[in-house]
Every structure is written in structure tokens, then in C-alpha cells.
């Protein structure tokens, strides 16, 4: 029994059903294992791989620079977040802070954008809905996501990393035309 020391030599051959199960489980684990690196090379949705250190001040300057160059209007909401339409081929800078996503973006379907993500203060969770694309946003780091919207629509950016009492108010906007 498992509560007593095993008797004699317990390093015995394994029973047939346990052996078969072990092999099936191992094969399935190998499939799951290989899926990750194979998808990394061949797939179209992978976690981004480029990041740099950046200070909050420097990143904020880049954000405001983009807003000044490419603002096309405002969103007319409470904090009047600017609506910005960066051209394809130019970097996009999105700033997370307690408690807003700044600015609002207008992107074109089928174009690929380098979206730079950083935070001015705490951790935030970049969560595009309703497609459920989720990435971490870390203060002091610029995380570069190459994103290609594949459908038009009016999307929201939720925050899904706790960032204080205003966490639930942190909702941003991306429109894809």
C-alpha cells in the first residue's frame, strides 16, 4: 500500500494499460509542445517579440508628437480624447495611464501598424474587444506589437490589469475603416 514502504524490488516493468496511456499522453504532450514553435514561424497570431526600455517622459513625447501630426478630430467624450489616424508605415504610440488609453485611433483594415505600448505609471492590460486580443503594458518598457486589423468596426480597449480604483473606467477606442 502507498502508506507502507514498498516490498522487495519495485522497479518492475509497467502494466500494459499504464504503458499505453503513458505513450498516448506523451504523444499528445509532444503535439502541444511543437505547436508553439511551429505556429511562431507559420502562424498569423503570435505574441510580439520586440521591446525596449523607455522613460515615461520620452514615451509621452512620442505620443504627443504622433497626436500633433495625425490628429483628425476629437471623440467628443468626457476627457475629449483626440482621434488620431496614423498613416500605414508610421509608428503608432498608445499611452496607458491611470485611468485612460490615449489617444483614440483610426486604423485601416488590411494595413499593418507598429503599435508601441507603454505605461506612465502602473501595469495595465491592453485588451481589444470584442476580438479578445490581450497584451501586457509595463511602465518603463515599450512593447511593439505589429497589428493588422482584418475587419472593420468600432473596437474598444479595456484594461484588464488592476491599476487602482479607476481601473474599470479605463476604456479606449480603435475604429477600423
Amino acid at each position: 500500500m502507498a502508506i507502507y514502504e514498498p516490498e522487495g524490488n519495485w522497479w518492475q516493468p509497467i502494466h500494459k494499460d499504464e504503458k499505453i496511456w503513458f505513450i498516448l499522453a506523451l504523444v499528445w504532450m509532444l503535439v502541444s509542445f511543437f505547436y508553439m514553435p511551429i505556429q511562431h514561424f507559420m502562424g498569423k497570431q503570435n505574441p510580439p517579440t520586440e521591446s525596449y526600455r523607455v522613460s515615461a517622459e520620452d514615451f509621452d513625447a512620442l505620443v504627443e508628437g504622433m497626436v500633433q501630426k495625425h490628429q483628425i478630430g476629437t471623440t467628443g467624450v468626457e476627457n475629449d480624447v483626440p482621434l488620431v489616424a496614423p498613416p500605414a508605415g508610421e509608428p503608432v504610440f498608445l499611452r496607458a495611464s491611470m485611468w485612460e488609453w490615449y489617444p483614440a485611433l483610426q486604423l485601416k483594415k488590411g494595413e499593418t501598424y507598429k503599435v508601441h505600448l507603454s505605461s506612465m505609471d502602473l501595469l495595465h492590460g491592453f485588451s481589444i474587444q470584442p476580438i479578445n486580443l490581450n497584451l501586457m503594458v509595463i511602465p518603463g518598457y515599450d512593447y511593439i506589437a505589429n497589428i493588422k486589423p482584418t475587419r472593420t468596426g468600432d473596437y474598444r480597449i479595456l484594461c484588464n490589469e488592476f491599476c487602482g480604483v479607476g481601473h474599470h473606467m479605463m476604456v479606449g477606442k480603435i475604429e477600423v475603416i
Partner: protein, 512 residues
């Protein structure tokens, strides 16, 4: 000199001090389960949009408390009790250092109490993970360190007891399998707490900055890099769950032995599986960091998939081996009709058995499957920080570990507490009620999360946000069902607390 008695149920020679420490820690654990469960109910009724019970600050405060008490305190006190069970009682020997056992208990209780006070007075609204740059009061971190040092000493005590037992010839070549599993857990425990020290001690020092400034002194640690914190913290966070998996599996084997005289089909396979746990889970923590910047893809993939899949293979071995041992034992007793007569005729009226079997099924189907899937880099993109993650880990640590520990507690009450269970009709159905509740909760959280519902989030309706967002109406149904599942689980949990504490303190004494 230690007093020994011979147990008339198991035949083990039980040292009185070891038995006292098992009883003390298990009872304390159950009391904390009640606290963690109460916190769970408050949090559940707040996330249920129709009720939205707590105001925003108290939600995050009770969520911090719920994470700490339900995930760490209830479980670690139970596991320190299992340390004495595995290293002294199973080896028919005494505790080598009774004073150390008391120090362990004292430090854990003091540390945990300090943490609880700091959280409830609002000085640690940082959630269980306390991600930097969020900062709590220094006493919060100090409480955690004190409790952790106590736990570390507890796991070290396992090895002191075993060394003394070996020297005194209490076992010849190798530990009984259940003790082997508890040993694997203790090894992982020591490595886990080493990670914990590596992150909590610097964070404690960093949290002193305001105090130092008030004294006119410069900070000792100016900043803690938030990504470095995440990496080291999860080096504590994930292996801490593997301690739980080892202990849960040890309880599975113990139940098979106690209730069925069952022997594992292959000791070689089971012991190797425990070794796989030790070797691989200490490294596999980066599945928490799959959508983080900084770490390279190769780092993430090797750490997460290469190593995690080997630990998962070990779980799949155990989840087969334990019921297979039970089936083999029951077939020997004559239940050979068809594929499942042994299962139908198994002692489902014994909550010690039913809880363990429910734990095996739910851990695998709910927690195990989703853990491997969400731990895949590409799937993490669509699940990270959604409520699906919360659903997953309620499938592992609640439907798996907690239900298994409930089953173990039912078995320990006659053996160590020498009491009969009160309200046996309640005890009989409790594992089913709790299991059903947690199953509904876990599945519905995962469903809501798959539609994007965030975790750790006070308001489903995003009040006061500049842009409106409404989830699909189907999601609202899952939110309601999660509430229903959670309430059923709370009832099941309350049934457990009443039966166990009632039996421990007022159950009919079993005379020899």
C-alpha cells in the same frame, strides 16, 4: 520521551506530539478556509452584475484577502499538517524537534495575522500578486516574510524528521509512496520560498522609502523593475501551486490505500512522476508572462512548453495510476462485472472517497485541460487577464486541491481527532454540492472570459468610462450562472466547515 499509540484503523504507531501538530495545523487551516470562503462570497456578489455588492475599494480589498487566505493560508496550514503526517506518522516515528514545530506554527500565525490586519485596514490594496509599482505598507510585506520563513522551516522540518527516522531504522531503503509525494512537495516548497524571499525582501526594503524619507534618509532600494518583479514573483507563484499538486496527489494515493488497501500498479511510474514534478515545475513559470515584453520567444517557449508539458505528463500519469489502483483493488474484491461495476459499487456515501474521486475528475477535466491550453503562447493572447484564467485556476486549486484536502480531512477526523462525523447525512452530500458549485463557477467564468470579461475588475458595465462597451447578452447569462455556481459552492463550503469543525470540537469521541 515521546508517547506513542497504535492506531486501530491504520495500524500505524502514532507519536502524540506529531499527532497534536497535525491536528493543530489542520484545524487552523479549516478555520482559514471559512475566512477565505466568506471573502469569496463577498467578491462573487460584487462581480455578479445584478447584485454588485461592495463599493469599489472594498471589492479590491476583499479580493486581496480572498487570494491570500484561500490560495495560500488555508492550503499551507493544511500542508504543514501533512508534513508531520508524512515525515513522522507515516514513518511510525516521532517529530525530531517539537519546539521547531511550535515555532513554525507561531511564525505562520503571526505573519498571516499581520498581513490580514494590513489588508483589512486598507494599507495593502495591491491584490495577491502585489505587482510593483503598486506599493503596500511595509508591514504587509513583513508579515508575508514572517509567515514564509515559518513555512520554510516547516518544509525543512520534513527532512529533519526523515533523517532521524532513517538513522533510527524506521524505514529501510525508500519512503512509502505517500511520504515520497509529500517529500516532493516539501522540496518544491523550499525552492518556492527561496524565490519568495528573493522577491519579497527587496520589495519590503523598497516599501520603506516613504518612511526613510520621513526620517531624512535616502532610499536603500530606489526602484524595483516591474518586469523583473513579475518574473521572480511568478517563480514563487507557480511552483507554490505545484506544492499543492504534489500534496493533492499524495492525498489521492493515501485515500486509495486507506479505503481500499490499493497498491499502485507501478511504483516505478508513480515515483518517477513525482520526480518529474520536482525537476520541471520550478522552471515552467513563464506561462504567466507569455504576452509580456522583455522575455524572448525562445525563453518563453522552452520554459513554458518544454518543461511544463513534462510536469503535465506527470499529472496525467498520477490521474491514471490512482483510480487504476482503486479499480484493481476493487476488482480483486470481486467487482468484475463490465467496465464500471467497481466504480458504481465504490463507497460514494463516504465523503472521504467521494471528495477524492471528484477531485481527480474535476482537476483533470476543468483545470488540467485548460491549463495546458492557456499556457500555449498563441492561446494566451486570447485568454490572458480575462476571467477565463480565474476559471482555470478555480478548476485546479479549488476543484482539485481544496476538494482533495476536504476528503483527507474527513479521513483524518476519525483517525487523528478520534471523533465521529456529526451530521453524516450532510457530510455524505457535501463533496457533491461543493463540486457541482465549483464546476459551474469554473466553466461559466471561462465562458465569460472567452468573450473578453476581464479578471480583477469591479464593474461589468464600465460606469464612468469615456466610451461605452456592452458585452453580448449571452455573456450576461454566464455572469449570472457564475453567481449561481458560486453560491452553491459557498453552501457546500459552509457544509464542510460546519461538519468538520463541529466534529473536531463536538463529535462523538471514539473510544478504543
Amino acid at each position: 520521551m515521546s508517547e506513542m499509540r497504535t492506531c486501530d484503523i491504520t495500524g500505524l504507531k502514532i507519536d502524540k506530539t506529531a499527532e497534536t501538530m497535525v491536528k493543530l495545523n489542520i484545524t487552523t487551516a479549516i478555520i482559514f478556509l471559512a475566512v477565505g470562503g466568506a471573502a469569496a462570497l463577498l467578491v462573487l456578489l460584487t462581480r455578479w452584475p445584478a447584485i454588485h455588492l461592495l463599493p469599489v475599494e472594498w471589492y479590491y480589498r476583499w479580493l486581496t484577502a480572498h487570494g491570500l487566505v484561500a490560495l495560500i493560508v488555508w492550503i499551507l496550514f493544511f500542508e504543514i499538517g501533512l508534513v508531520y503526517f508524512g515525515s513522522a506518522i507515516l514513518l511510525n516515528t516521532r517529530i525530531a524537534a517539537p519546539l521547531l514545530a511550535k515555532v513554525v506554527y507561531g511564525m505562520m500565525l503571526v505573519g498571516v495575522s499581520l498581513v490580514a490586519v494590513m489588508v483589512l485596514i486598507g494599507k495593502a490594496d495591491v491584490l495577491f500578486t502585489s505587482y510593483v509599482p503598486l506599493q503596500a505598507n511595509p508591514l504587509y510585506y513583513l508579515g508575508i516574510v514572517i509567515a514564509a520563513v515559518g513555512m520554510l522551516l516547516g518544509f525543512i522540518h520534513f527532512f529533519i524528521n526523515v533523517a532521524v527516522a532513517k538513522k533510527e531504522g524506521k524505514y529501510k531503503k525508500t519512503l512509502p509512496l505517500v511520504a515520497f509525494g509529500i517529500m516532493a512537495a516539501s522540496i518544491i516548497g523550499i525552492l518556492t520560498i527561496a524565490h519568495g524571499a528573493a522577491i519579497y525582501i527587496p520589495t519590503f526594503i523598497w516599501s520603506l522609502n516613504d518612511f526613510l524619507a520621513d526620517q531624512g534618509m535616502a532610499p536603500i532600494i530606489q526602484n524595483i523593475d516591474p518586469e523583473a518583479y513579475r518574473l521572480v514573483w511568478w517563480g514563487l507563484g507557480h511552483p507554490s501551486q505545484q506544492i499543492n499538486v504534489c500534496m493533492m496527489v499524495a492525498m489521492w494515493y493515501m485515500t486509495a490505500a486507506f479505503l481500499f488497501d490499493a497498491k499502485p500498479l507501478s511504483e516505478k511510474l508513480c515515483r518517477t512522476a513525482f520526480v518529474l514534478y520536482i525537476l520541471f515545475i520550478n522552471v515552467a513559470s513563464e506561462h504567466h508572462l507569455l504576452v509580456d515584453p522583455v522575455l524572448s520567444t525562445w525563453h518563453k517557449i522552452v520554459n513554458t512548453s518544454y518543461v511544463m508539458h513534462l510536469a503535465v505528463l506527470a499529472s496525467m500519469i498520477h490521474a491514471f495510476a490512482v483510480p487504476a489502483a482503486m479499480e484493481a483493488a476493487l476488482r480483486k474484491k470481486g467487482y468484475t462485472n463490465g467496465l464500471f461495476e467497481w466504480l458504481k459499487k465504490a463507497p460514494w456515501g463516504n465523503p472521504g472517497f467521494s471528495a477524492i474521486f471528484i477531485s481527480i475528475i474535476l482537476f483533470g477535466f476543468l483545470g488540467g485541460i485548460t491549463g495546458v491550453i492557456f499556457g500555449t503562447e498563441q492561446f494566451s493572447i486570447i485568454r490572458h487577464n480575462t476571467w477565463a484564467i480565474t476559471g482555470h485556476f478555480h478548476g485546479t486549486v479549488v476543484a482539485g486541491t481544496t476538494i482533495a484536502f476536504m476528503g483527507a480531512a474527513y479521513q483524518f477526523i476519525p483517525i487523528f481527532f478520534r471523533r465521529e462525523l456529526i451530521l453524516p447525512a450532510v457530510a455524505k452530500i457535501q463533496p457533491f454540492v461543493y463540486g457541482l458549485g465549483v464546476m459551474i463557477l469554473s466553466i461559466c467564468m471561462m465562458a465569460a472570459g472567452s468573450f473578453g470579461v476581464p479578471r480583477r475588475h469591479w464593474d461589468y458595465n464600465f460606469s464612468d468610462a469615456p466610451f461605452d462597451y456592452e458585452f453580448d447578452p449571452t455573456v450576461g447569462i454566464f455572469m449570472d450562472l457564475t453567481g449561481v455556481g458560486g453560491v452553491i459552492a459557498t453552501v457546500g463550503g459552509a457544509m464542510f466547515i460546519v461538519v468538520t469543525l463541529g466534529s473536531i470540537f463536538a463529535g462523538k469521541k471514539i473510544e478504543k
